[in-house]
């Protein structure tokens, strides 16, 4: 009954018709929740949809979270039970979710100009409502846009992308089926530079093939940076025209 799924055809086409170096359909919107949060964004990468709300910088709610010289960032991730093909409830204490939260927190602790807001806190709330591969990448991109919308000063965009290795072929921006078929890494870069903010590889890959995966992921990140920048500029221009800035 199981049909052979051809992840990468000999003509160079993937399951959804993309080439090896094409990212999925990227759609983003910022300032989507102006009332309930200080900064918000919705990102759609292919079928993966993530909503991000940022509240802050604000007075800390817990004394234990106060850092004397920098802002403290807390990340909360809610993965909806209906986000995957199989319905599964994931409690907040799930280890995968906690791991992703702490990775995102570490990335943004360095990317945000933290010393400008001592003794303050920033709360990042992420909601994954649909998953089709590349969840961590979408979460990082959504957080960047929401922080920009909230007006939190950052050194540059933080853009993330995944890259996988199928035999000797590198594929960019994997979906769910591709992620389960090959080793892949998630990389986040600081804007268009070659500085790497996050590199996550959870499967075995031959060492000499790692560099080409990283190079592909980096170019994917730069491309996503341009897409996000376009949207931010477009949004800024429309707000200026409306006179609401």
């Amino acid at each position: 009954m199981a049909s052979r799924i051809e992840i990468y055809s000999p003509e160079g086409l993937r399951l959804d018709g993309r080439r090896w170096n094409e990212v999925r359909h990227f759609r983003c919107a910022i300032n989507t929740h102006p009332i309930s949060s200080d900064g918000s964004s919705i990102i759609e990468q292919g079928n993966t949809k993530v909503i991000c709300n940022v509240i802050g910088p604000a007075e800390p709610t817990l004394r234990s979270r106060v850092l004397p010289d920098r802002v403290s960032i807390s990340v909360k991730l809610v993965v909806a039970p209906f986000s995957t093909i199989e319905r599964r409830k994931r409690p907040q204490s799930d280890s995968r979710i906690q791991e992703m939260c702490s990775s995102i927190q570490h990335v943004f602790e360095d990317a945000v100009i933290a010393h400008l807001f001592p003794r303050s806190q920033i709360d990042v709330n992420l909601y994954v409502v649909a998953q089709d591969g590349g969840v961590l990448q979408a979460c990082i991109n959504a957080t960047t846009l929401a922080l920009i919308d909230a007006g939190v000063p950052m050194y540059d965009y933080v853009c993330a992308c995944t890259a996988g290795m199928l035999d000797r072929e590198v594929l960019l921006d994997l979906n769910r089926i591709e992620e389960s078929a090959m080793p892949f890494l998630t990389m986040a870069t600081i804007g268009g530079t070659r500085k790497v903010a996050l590199l996550l590889l959870e499967m075995k890959v031959q060492f000499d093939r790692l560099e080409s995966m990283m190079a592909a992921a980096m170019s994917g990140c730069h491309h996503i940076r341009d897409l996000m920048d376009n949207e931010v500029r477009k949004h800024g221009k429309s707000r200026l025209e409306r006179g609401s800035l």
Binding site: N47, N53, P81, F82, R87, Y127, V129, A130, D132
Partner: protein, 275 residues
């Protein structure tokens, strides 16, 4: 949210006088505008999202799974909601989930979920309430209503030869058509129930209460509306320190008001079709 004594007194006097005066000038039966969309999630059988203009937002996704059943007529529905910021076992969450689950289980005919004698669908209704300023019950119920209206179940292939049960028994594990356009809507012959909450202030009843209005209310009444009539009732607490004493006359008044409001809301929700 905490109100000062002056604010509380202003609100409670304006809402208890006859005729009442709501802070935003609405009528007792007037709802605030909502922003609704259906069919937004590709991984679900049905989905909907409603946003209120006070920042409240709710996303509901309906998923159907095939389970093996005995010949009983149980309706397999599970409703779960996640109110962001609250612990999973909080009383508010229990109230929302149990009210909706009971309402759906009591109204949904089990034949709509049946596939064969051995197999049936189990419907999971999961809601996430991203933000709420007023009581989230109405928000969740309206979003669930829209999501269920949008829900489609894949069609069985091959079609059973006869319409009688004997042929259905011979089919082993059911096979489904992978053409999504071929799927059947769950709500062809059934309308989901609608749960509405009204607050009672003195002798007056208000629908779609804002957070501040609920803060000065004596209590709330929820009704379950299905098939053109009220089928369930419950008194709920709408603020922490409410005295919850109201007369039978105000309860029956509230039920009438909610019935007519539910009728109008159902008509309005059925008119929303974005997918």
């Amino acid at each position: 949210m905490p109100l000062s004594l002056t604010e509380e007194s202003y609100l409670s006097v304006s809402l208890s006088q006859r005729p009442p005066c709501r802070p935003d000038g609405r009528d007792q039966l007037q709802f605030r505008p909502i922003d609704a969309a259906t069919g937004i999630l590709p991984t679900t059988n049905g989905s909907a999202r409603i946003r209120l203009d006070d920042g409240g937002e709710c996303i509901v996704g309906v998923k159907a799974e095939v389970i093996t059943v005995s010949r009983s007529d149980d309706v397999h529905v599970e409703v779960d909601c996640d109110i962001v910021g609250l612990l999973p076992s909080s009383p508010l969450q229990n109230l929302l989930c149990s009210t909706l689950e009971t309402a759906i289980k009591n109204s949904l005919p089990s034949r709509l979920l049946r596939i064969t004698n051995k197999y049936s669908y189990k419907i999971f209704v999961d809601g996430i309430i991203l933000d709420h300023v007023s009581h989230p019950l109405t928000l969740l119920s309206m979003t669930t209503y829209l999501a269920l209206l949008d829900t489609r179940l894949p069609r069985l292939t091959p079609e059973p030869l006869g319409a009688n049960d004997n042929d259905k028994d011979e089919i082993g594990i059911p096979q489904f058509s992978s053409d999504w356009a071929d799927a059947d809507r769950l709500c062809m012959s059934w309308s989901p129930p609608l749960v509405q909450l009204a607050i009672i202030v003195g002798k007056n009843v208000f629908v779609d209460a804002t957070g501040e209005e609920a803060e000065v209310s004596d209590g709330g009444l929820l009704t379950v509306w299905h098939d053109g009539r009220v089928v369930g009732l419950r008194v709920v607490k709408t603020r922490d320190s409410s005295k919850q004493v109201f007369s039978i006359a105000s309860i029956s008044n509230a039920v009438e008001i909610l019935a007519s409001a539910s009728r109008d809301i159902e008509k309005a929700l059925k008119g929303i079709r974005t997918s």
